[in-house]
Amino acid sequence: MEQVQFLGPGMDPVSENRPHPVPSGESLHWLTLGEVSHGGQQCFLVSALWAPGMKAGPPQPAGSLPLALAPLSTFSKRPLSTAVLEALSAEESSKARNLENRLEIDGFPPSPLVVKDFIVLRGLCSPALGRPGQLLNGHTNNWAVLVCTSRFWFNYRHVANTLSVYRSVKRLGIPDSHIVLMLADDMACNPRNPKPATVFSHKNMELNVYGDDVEVDYRSYEVTVENFLRVLTGRVPPSTPRSKRLLSDDRSNILIYMTGHGGNGFLKFQDSEEITNVELADAFEQMWQKRRYHEMLFIIDTCQGASMYERFYSPNVMALASSQVGEDSLSHQPDLAIGVHLMDRYTFYVLEFLEEIHPASQANMNDLFQVCPKSLCVSTPGHRTDLFQRNPQNVLITDFFGSVRKVEITTERVALKPDPSSLGYSHLKCQKDEELTEPLNYAEQLPVAQIIHQKPKQKEWHPPGGFILGLWALILMVFFKTYGIKHMKYVF
């Protein structure tokens, strides 16, 4: 089953993430409707055709639309960025909307009408005219998932590892809303920490990586394999807040950093469960199929770290590890006051390298590969680039650790009209004020009498109070009515 995302006009591609399955053996066909100039921007319109029984391969005429078809595999390398559905003609968007409605009502698979119809998925706009190539290869947003999987105080260094990467990506411009930070234990406010609310990465307490404005999204018991995979694949419960989701799209560059205790082919979470390299590779593949990333940089600092990336098979993933299979990753920076090691060697030198990077620096991935030679690391750091499309020499560090934000400056003036809703609202409020004539009261905090006489809810039916008494009175009345008062002597 392929997971395919259908989007109607006006739908947010990420929050309304409702994948509809396409039956396996049948394929979805994508086509470019053409280029449209919209608002001074060059836009490509892309639509999808899906027909039951239609196979990928030579183009087939579909309905009355003489358009060339492209199989899914070629499409997925194509850019998808901003939905510009206003550029569509009204007829097309209403068609798409109808179709979307029917998909919802009838469920899937839809009726064969779909063959003749088409669904407009998204339009693509290049941000600047004349530079479409930039968009085709680039990314439009950056995300970071930083995970520390170790619990307990003696694993202080793993929290410091994660926080030092957090500090670097935040310094280079990725906002907190685009960082999912998972810390398996609270080191900063741990009772054993002699300096509360700090986590140091250098001995003699030189660099506090915890900072004064940290935002931890998943902490302590929330850091589980299940939650980690849910964040990656986006299959979170509906009421999950935005800060706990990875709301990336197919134009996102994602940095995934993990640290903890691991072995050959697995990484332990909280000393109670573990994730294997196969599970991780499958999660990345699912992300790729759901178009949740454009390029991914995976860094792991754990013993035998290279075993974690050797099973990856999804495209556009670059991976780094602190040690080869069979090697241990070693700790660094023991501090006598705190009493534990503050960092792991690999991340220590990565942090040292990243501290030199600024948002405009031209350092590339090859520099990152050289960061920790064996003489410093003791272990042999590894990297894997065969899945990655670009030459690491052309990949800037800031492609993953920094952030891009497309800002368009307009010189047009925008005239703000008075908000009609606020007028109506104030009018409503006046009405409300008039209605309330009864003064409101504060509740009594401990109404003793009320609590004592509070009637407990009774499940079974009980005869009302006085019922038994009344029954006796009735019997007596009937008795006296029958025998009279003078016949009492018969009773006694």
């Binding site: 406010c189 902490r219 009421s239 606020s422 109506g424 104030s426 309330l436 409101l440 609590i451």
Partner: protein, 569 residues
Amino acid sequence: MAAPLVLHLLLALLLGSGGRSGAEPERDSLREELVLTPLPSGDVSATFQFRTRWDSELQLEGVSHYRLFPKVLGQLISKYSVQELHLSLTQGFWRTRFWGQPFLQAPAGAELWVWFQDSVVDVDKSWKELSNILSGIFCASLNFIDSTNTVTPTASFKPLGLANGTNHHFLRYAVLPREVVCTENLTPWKKLLPCSSKAGLSVLLKAERLFHTSYHSQAVHIRPVCRDAHCVSVSWELRQTLTVVFDAFTTGQGKKDWSLFRMFSRTITEACPLASQSHIYVDISRNSQENETLEVSPPPTSTYQAVVLGDRRTYAVYDLLNPATFSGSRSLNLQLRWKQFQDIGSQLVPFLHAQRYVSGYGLQKGELSTVLHNTHPYRAFPVLLLETVPWYLRLYVHTLAITTKGKENKPSYIHYQPAQDRLRPHLLEMLIQLPANSVTKVSIQFERALLKWTEYTPDPNHGFYVSPSVLSALVPNLVGAKPANWEESPLFSTMFPVSDSSSYFVRLYTEPLLVNLPTPDFSMPYNVICLTCTVVAVCYGSFYNLLTRTFHLEEPKRSRLVRIAVKNK
């Protein structure tokens, strides 16, 4: 009817075109306040309160313009039809016995209680979603609030704001005693403040200092309050409070003197420009008239006397909006110096305080005990006790014993809701009359349940927390109090609505308990697998050998003649 409507519309149009800020007074206001109280034990407690009041109907749809009130909370209130919301995140324990009554205590960990409006149909669903959203806003694990730790109290936790009816069906209450509180919770809390941590009193909120304390509690309270004295319309109040207790005695090398800079490593240079009131109060009640025991510098511009928590207190007041406060130097560094050493033992013990402990030995049974002290010499008062016990401690209700001075004390109201495994906790509510000068012990025995293998936390040997008992009480005043005007009086005295002058309402929490549950040997399955595999391998191997091999009997050598004879036989 039509004429005033048209008039209103016209007025609104005129105001809209003429510029809202000039013609109409702002509908929201901010007051900030810091109360510094030297505690009897030598510690110093600092209570920050930031109150944003909004004269608007939040429940109505279409409120889109937010000025001081945080939009994220405003939307929450209208989306989930919240009547009242109280969330606190606390580290440490307020030691009432030594520190006196707090303005507002909170239990260790996270506490959330919400009153929903009576228009809410599915309260449990709204509650679940609301706690999820709050966990995202405050970076806390509030998403662990589910039916196993949520209760609906029947008598405690009455609404603190305006409420015409109190149907407890719309109340939900949950405590997460395990929740840690650190900088990541303070950051979003500070972001809700109109001045963030850029100006005003919030400049002092530096994580490194605030968490280096014996007690840290931050809270958010949202409730509807009266707009004016007539109280015919509703305003919304967001009260952000933060209480810390500094151990001034140990950090100050044995001296109890303190200053703002020593506590917060910051001084105050200005008030928050958006605030309509910005005050610092320093409790100088222990400065008796005849001999001066303490000295505050710079000298206060005014003092404030009131009956707070049943006792007459005197506060030195510093108005930050008054430029005279900063006249001497550009920054305000409050200092307090003790002139005479005061005996700690002579301090007055608060009228109500409580402890809680777990007793018993072994991993099968135990006993939960709550000890309530009434130290008032001649007055009895009622206390409403609420206990929430998780389902994995199975309470024996017949062992519930309430004893005062050796005699049984019969509660005048008792409500018990038994637990259901993996569904809901025990809830026990009792209204107990505490006689004067007495100690009351409430005890109940329990049995520890065995959890399923996957239900244990990753660190099961740490133990499991039991949330603290909650005491709601009307404690008698030491001196008679007059009901004060809410808007005029300082924020710290207007947390609970006052109903009568002879007593004041207080809500206290006891310590959370840590109970060990019988934990299995988690490596046992592996051991079993290893052992069984060995046994199976040995048995199977020998059996397989027996089945597949052919065994030949080695015959003893005989003479050829005998062999032929045997063959022919």
